[in-house]
Symmetry: C2
Subunit: 190 residues, 2 copies
DNA sequence: TAGACTAGAGAACGATCATTCTCAGCGCCA
DNA sequence: TGGCGCTGAGAATGATCGTTCTCTAGTCTA
């Protein structure tokens, strides 16, 4: 097993374990066992646990955003598709909320590399939404809805938080276009 | 010092320390030092650390919601006042996000009492918003905005996340009343 | 004043965990 | 073939921390 494969296996194991149980609750020994990579090699690839955590977050950021981008792009880059994707995510078996928010909560004052990875993720997601929604303010409003839905879905376990946020997003987008919004949920007023 | 005063001091110290540094990062010894209550007494009041954490969360829930309720009530129970209150909170010196979301992130699988305290808090806040906003769906949308703004303010450090969410809330409330929303942010179209 | 209970200070215990060290084995090159 | 260097397995180290224990010194009661 060469060094790049060891790194891959370590990151795969780290992601599974860190996301499922939290960073603090997972020992390096658990990562070793799950990855099948020896401790010595582990410390060659990542000199300290925090380095592994940082790499885990950076990798998760790429994959998470890639999945979202693909899904939304396949739906014509409709901003509302973001909330459909969220609902699928919330309903996945191992869903435990946003890895970045959880990590932020785990550290009182996160180490610099980890804090940077967390901020980078949120910055990138915000930038992505701004690329989907011409108006900056509306994009930021949708971003807040996303984050809120994610947090609430994690705590309540109810994927329908995505619907709530999606409906709000729809209203915000339409309102911005200057459309007259009928009194909500009354089917008779077409 | 009688038992109730010891309990008060312990909860005061616990809240300061747990909120500022996270639950895991604070040892019982730090709580002892800050509170001035001996370890023996501490364990008489709270047989295990998790009991102290649970009591901390329950107390924080009461105080946090009390502060919000007072502020909003003084403004005629206007739902938008919630976001003004949030902005003040975000700008406070020691602001570190929502204690409950942070605690949720700290534990991979939170102990039952703690999980219950976290869910209780969110349930109560949601119920409060529903009491302010007649329409259940709109109340839940505002709730998602609140949570999102809180998370983002914690990570970015920017209290203006509250403004973003507040503007969205305003649009949602007006849209629900069937008001024609003009193209956003253009002051000329009165 | 004697004695029983209690509190506080802090040592001690036991567990966990990040990180390093030891050692025995194996391949590789001369 | 003989030694060099790298490897994995797992023991050892050192630190932290939740929890309990010990001991000393009151303090209140009879």
């Amino acid at each position: 097993m060469d060094s790049t494969e060891a790194t891959d296996r370590l990151l795969e194991a780290a992601e599974d374990l860190f996301y499922a149980h939290g960073v603090q609750a997972v020992g390096m020994d658990a990562v070793r066992e799950r990855s099948g990579v020896s401790l010595k090699r582990l410390y060659q690839c990542f000199p300290a646990k925090n380095d592994l955590v940082e790499a885990y977050l950076l990798r998760r950021d790429e994959r998470w955003r890639g999945s979202l981008r693909n899904f939304v792009h396949a739906r014509g880059d409709d901003p509302l598709a973001v909330f459909a994707w969220l609902k699928n995510w919330f309903a996945e078996p191992g869903f435990r909320g946003c890895a970045f928010i959880n990590s932020f909560g785990e550290f009182g004052e996160p180490p610099p590399g980890i804090a940077a990875a967390i901020r980078k993720h949120k910055d990138e997601v915000r930038a992505y939404l701004r690329s989907l929604v011409p108006d900056r303010s509306v994009a930021d409003q949708l971003f807040a809805l996303m984050e809120g839905a994610t947090v609430l879905a994690a705590i309540t376990g109810d994927p329908r938080e995505a619907d709530t946020a999606g409906e709000a997003a729809k209203v915000l987008l339409e309102a911005h276009l200057g459309v007259t919004t009928p009194a909500a949920n009354r089917p008779r007023s077409s």
